[in-house]
């Protein structure tokens, strides 16, 4: 057994990190906050690097890798706070034309959520609604006719992710060859991977600030009250990492529910603690911290929320 990353996986992770650092640095992040529309040039570039087609077979023009590799890419995107429908892109690549190459943006919406939320409503040319089915209604991934979808945009709490409520989405025939329970599972796992990346990044940000910020004549990171916050953050991130990576290996529904639960907790609570370590600076718009917290809140609401995960995990006990 070797649960650690293979050399290829570590190289993939490092490559994704380097690409994002180079092409989506602090200035670009700041620009994106002011104008939250996906940068189509960057999106095509990331697509060319395989960010979207990571699991598409090579014969279909993809990279031909597996769920663990997709998780590593999403983790890096989460670290970098990359805006854009990455999870939807990875899951719909190959199923919706132009998504794998970054030419077209697609939104993937959970039809069971209330309200049904749509990310990047203006930029997404395609809206696919996942209907998990109900008695008398078959499950399916429905591609909605672009002109027929009605949306009610609202002020998204996350400055990097515009949101709308879907108010009308007449269904056409379900997309063939898409397994709905599997799509739902994988959407939850890839979202958890983004949460993990954010949780790990906020540990680093808190530690860097605690080493540099001086009060009472010493770096605040030398005070146990601050140290212990940082240590708690690392524990959350590392537990989430073990859960997310294991779920990527097994693909098991229950493992994924647990991974999403712990990654949500790690991302949200680490962002909160990171904000606390930053003190007054953390409360400013200028600091990066609030962007992690707001995105973490958004992701926690998407795909297997805490209540659902906990109920499923409880059901599995002595079932």
């Amino acid at each position: 057994m070797d649960f650690q990353l293979t050399d290829d996986q570590a190289a993939l992770r490092d490559g994704a990190r380097d690409l994002l650092t180079g092409r989506f640095g602090p200035e670009r992040l700041r620009a994106a906050v002011g104008a939250p529309v996906p940068d189509r040039g960057l999106w095509r570039e990331l697509a060319a690097a395989g960010f979207l087609a990571v699991r598409l077979p090579e014969a279909a023009g993809g990279v031909g890798l597996g769920l663990p590799e997709a998780v590593l890419v999403c983790e890096e995107a989460g670290r970098a706070l990359l805006p854009g429908p990455l999870v939807a892109g990875q899951l719909l690549a190959g199923a919706v034309d132009g998504v794998a190459t970054g030419e077209r943006l697609a939104a993937l919406c959970d039809g069971a959520a209330d309200p049904v939320l749509c990310e990047f409503p203006d930029a997404c040319a395609e809206v696919v609604v996942l209907d998990r089915g109900a008695p008398g209604r078959a499950a399916g991934a429905y591609r909605c006719a672009p002109g027929a979808v009605t949306r009610a945009p609202f002020a998204s709490v996350d400055p990097l992710t515009p949101l709308a409520r879907l108010t009308g989405y007449p269904r056409t025939a379900p997309l063939p060859a898409l397994d709905v329970p599997r799509l739902y599972r994988e959407a939850a796992l890839l979202t958890a991977a983004e949460q993990l990346g954010s949780a790990a990044r906020t540990v680093e940000a808190a530690v860097a600030y605690a080493r540099q910020r001086t009060q009472f004549g010493a770096p605040i990171g030398s005070f146990q009250a601050v140290k212990h916050l940082c240590a708690g953050m690392l524990v959350r991130a590392e537990l989430a990492r073990a859960a997310v990576y294991a779920a990527a290996v097994t693909g098991d529904a229950l493992d994924i529910a647990g991974a999403k639960l712990l990654a949500d907790e790690a991302a949200v609570r680490n962002a909160r603690d990171c904000l606390q370590v930053h003190g007054g600076m953390g409360f400013t718009w200028e600091a990066e911290v609030h962007l992690h917290l707001k995105r973490a809140w958004l992701r926690a609401e998407r795909w297997c929320r805490a209540r659902e995960a906990e109920e499923r995990l409880a059901d599995a006990l002595a079932g």
Partner: protein, 384 residues
């Protein structure tokens, strides 16, 4: 990222399972918790069975009489023995997990030959004389004095939290040999026979009602200088070489056991109607995720140790911090499931709820572990 075992590892697992299935039904009944001589006999008999079957000192180096197994094989051993309900390491804990590895790493050839085989064969029990009334988290403040007199050290002082002291043959003892030196540089590591004149053991009753710990009083105990492992005054380093071993794999079997208890809580809650309480149900669901992830974290840490040549990293502190808290949460949830029965001290879950309180204190308090994580992993500056 791979969770699958190799063919060799699966063969090891299959062989172990077959052996456990053969020997466990023939084991005598477990002695009562208060029957110390009975517990010693039971634990050492089990160790002897492991020895005869070739499983003793699995993770010890071959040169020390061990089997030089990989961290993954050791993990499989701990997982399978717990699953099968085999006896816990018990009174052999200090010998197998700390004193033995210390002697293996730092002892002379003669010392290894004298002390290691009896540990592996279950013939001698060790206890740990580290903590003192005024030296707990701040272990380097220890004051038990050892004065050289000819070929002996004459040792006076007291130790506390010494588990299995009443049945131990040997004590791995930290003493101050140079009171003038900086704190960490005046300490030596001695092997003390527990039947030496001047050694008094007084059982210490814990809040769980049991007496698994003891205080050990030392009044001019003579210990041959040949019983010192490592150089004089170098005992701090000698001890720290292997202290992280204790944190690496000590709780593997317990995580397996906790997952079994959690399933038991769910069954009990379904039976007594408390399952209808969504708050309790969700709490149990979260604990399910927690213990599943702790198992994955163990596999992650073991894989890391395997890559670094068997050295457990600081990942052990990360694991212990979360596990000790989760264990307490588990038994708090058990109390919620039990309702009024949670006041019955004889209920096994209640007894375990009480003993779980030590987990955030023993083997490095959670506060000390957070300092370790913050300073050694995150690189935050030392301070107060």
């Amino acid at each position: 990222m791979d969770l699958a075992c190799t063919e060799e590892e699966e063969d090891f697992r299959a062989g172990l399972r077959a052996w456990l299935a053969k020997v466990l039904p023939a084991l005598p009944p477990k002695p009562a918790a208060t029957d110390w001589p009975g517990r010693r006999a039971y634990d050492t008999a089990w160790q002897r069975m492991l020895y005869d079957a070739g499983y003793a000192g699995l993770h010890w180096p071959v040169a020390a009489g061990g089997r030089g197994a990989t961290p993954t094989q050791h993990l499989i051993f701990l997982e399978e023995t717990e699953r099968a309900g085999a006896p816990y390491v018990g009174a052999n804990f200090v010998g197998l997990l700390h004193a033995g590895p210390t002697i293996a790493a730092e002892g002379t050839a003669a010392q290894r030959a004298r002390w290691l085989p009896p540990i592996l064969r279950g013939e001698e029990i060790w206890c740990q004389g580290f903590s003192e009334p005024d030296a707990g988290s701040d272990l380097a403040a220890l004051r038990t004095r050892a004065v050289r007199d000819g070929d002996d050290y004459v040792v006076t002082g007291s130790k506390i939290w010494t588990s299995h002291a009443e049945v131990a043959d040997w004590c791995e003892l930290l003493v101050r040999t140079d009171p003038a030196a900086p704190r960490h540089r005046g300490i030596s590591w001695l092997a003390m026979p527990m039947d030496a004149p001047g050694v008094t053991v007084r059982p210490l009753r814990t809040l769980a009602g049991s007496a698994e710990f003891a205080e050990v009083f030392l009044d001019e105990v003579r210990i041959p200088a040949a019983h010192r492992v490592g150089a004089e005054h170098d005992g701090w380093r000698v001890t720290m070489v292997t202290l992280s071993f204790e944190r690496g794999t000590a709780f593997v079997g317990e995580v397996v056991a906790c997952r079994r208890v959690l399933a038991g809580l769910a069954r009990a809650a379904r039976a007594n109607g408390r399952w209808d309480d969504a708050v309790l149900r969700r709490r149990l669901g979260r604990l399910n995720a927690e213990f599943a992830a702790l198992w994955r974290l163990t596999q992650w840490n073991v894989s890391a140790a395997q890559r670094s040549g068997g050295v457990p990293g600081a990942g052990g502190s990360v694991f212990k911090l979360r596990y000790s808290h989760a264990r307490q949460e588990l038994y708090d949830a058990a109390a919620e499931v039990l309702g009024g029965d949670a006041l019955d001290a004889d209920h096994p879950w209640v007894a375990d709820r009480l003993s779980a309180l030590s987990y955030t204190i023993a083997a490095g308090t959670s506060q000390i572990q957070r300092n370790i994580v913050a300073e050694r992993i995150l690189g935050l500056p030392k301070g107060r």
